[in-house]
Each structure stands twice: as structure tokens, then as C-alpha cells.
Symmetry: C2
Subunit: 147 residues, 2 copies
């Protein structure tokens, strides 16, 4: 399923950076758009109808990451997972399943997010740390892995 708004935002961002938005790249991005949360390279590859070689897939993801279109996430078994950057999907947090390793995005209401931001800047301030981002990671069993 195509997603015109996102495609257009991404195309603009890439054009600004003089990075081409080719068929292969569009295909990879489409795979990410259809995912529920951060995906591994293998998951992305399997989700594509037209197969993209691994080397191209990795390179595309690296380019998208440098362009700020995707962000990376490490968790569970240490595999790198990729998802659309937050300016495209909105700020969110992660539910990490300790059994199957999948990561689901979860959103948080505005007032709780405010609380979190205050907490983050308080903590970071005390450590002379220059914050650029934060993420609440919740570990446990996803609904699929609970018996």
C-alpha cells in the first residue's frame, strides 16, 4: 500500500540533500512504511515484492539514515533494526519482546510526554550531558509470546 504524504515528505528531504529517490530506494522505504515498528534487514527484505540484493539494501538504509529519513535501533539479540525517523511518524517509545525480539512502537499522551521531558532534562543536566533524543524502552513479553 502506497502512502503519498510520506512519500512526498521523504522525496522533498532527499531532494534537499541531492540524494536520488530511485525505484529501489522507494521500494525499501515502502517496506518500512508498511512495518509496525523497527524492522531488521531480513524482515525488510522479506517484505519486498521485488527482491533487492542485500548489499543494496544495506547501502540504501545507510543513505536514508544519513539523510535523516530512517533511524536505527538496537535491542534484543543485537540485530540492527530500522524504522522511519520520528519527524515522519511522530515521537514514540518501544515495547521490546524479550522472547521473540520484535519491537513495537507505542505512543504516549502529551502530558505524560511533558513529564518525561522534564525528567530527561533534569537527569541530563546533572551529568553535563547534551540531550538530542530520548526513548523509553519497555522490556517484557509481547501479546503474541504470552501463552
Amino acid at each position: 500500500m502506497p502512502h503519498p504524504q510520506l512519500d512526498q515528505q521523504i522525496a522533498k528531504r532527499l531532494a534537499d540533500k541531492d540524494v536520488r529517490f530511485t525505484k529501489g530506494r522507494r521500494s525499501v522505504v515502502a517496506g518500512l512504511v508498511n512495518g509496525e515498528g523497527p524492522m531488521t534487514v531480513t524482515e525488510i527484505q522479506e517484505s519486498l515484492e521485488v527482491s533487492v540484493p542485500l548489499s543494496s539494501l544495506y547501502r540504501t538504509l545507510a543513505v536514508m539514515n544519513e539523510s535523516g529519513v530512517v533511524s536505527t535501533h538496537h535491542s534484543g539479540q543485537g540485530l540492527t533494526r530500522y524504522e522511519l525517523a520520528e519527524w515522519l511518524t511522530g515521537h514514540h517509545h518501544h515495547l521490546v519482546c524479550t522472547r521473540c525480539g520484535t519491537v513495537d512502537d507505542i505512543e504516549i499522551d502529551v502530558e505524560h510526554e511533558r513529564q518525561l521531558e522534564v525528567l530527561v532534562s533534569t537527569l541530563a543536566g546533572g551529568a553535563n550531558f547534551d540531550v538530542s533524543d530520548h526513548s523509553l524502552e519497555i522490556d517484557g513479553l509481547c501479546h503474541r509470546c504470552q501463552r
Copy 2:
């Protein structure tokens, strides 16, 4: 620098699980105890006075992880980092430097931690997720990497 209390707690845990606490294992644990936060295998290896072969180091860390003595953490460049489990060091969160990749532990006062816990269980409850742990990860530049 030795740390008798921790050593004793760890020895007890391992004894309960019928896992031996050998010289090599003590040495690796000592390396972790002296670290400021989650360490990579390389960092651990370099911190040891008596060198431990990589294969043994990895195996020891795997055993300690299974025994609940250490926990793993993935961030930055995707390297696995190891640290003592929270029941030994107390609950804490992480400051992850996006430049050098180091991770520092940071503690949080009781009332803020309560807030966080409420938030976590609210979020997880809505997603039918069975929470076992949570961690607030703050990304940015550590004090060493700020010019």
C-alpha cells in the same frame, strides 16, 4: 580494587545455580565491577590485568548472563555491552553518547521513578504487554565529547 559485598552476592547466586566461580570468572566480574557503565567485550578485556582469551571471555559473559549476574545492552554502533545486573547495582538508566558510543549509568530519585513506573504500566497495559523491565535511554553528547 576488590569489592567483597558484591563478590559474595554473586558467589551465592552462582552457588545456587551450581555454576562455579572460578579464577577466570572472578577476574571478568572484577572488570565489570570496576567499570562506570556497560562495557564492550574489548573494553572488559583491556581492563583485565591477567589476560583472558576471547572465547573464554564470551563464554563467561554468556554464563553470567544466564545466571542473572550480568545483563546485556545494545546501543550506539550495535556492539553488545555488558554490565552487572540491577539487583547488584540498583535500578538505573542510561546516557548514550551518539559520538563516542559510551554508555553511562544514571540514577533517578524515588518519586520520579514512581512516575515512570506508573507511565510504563499504563502504556504496557494498553498493549497487552507483560512488563519485566524498563529503561530510559537518553541520547546525546557526553561531557567528554562536547567541545
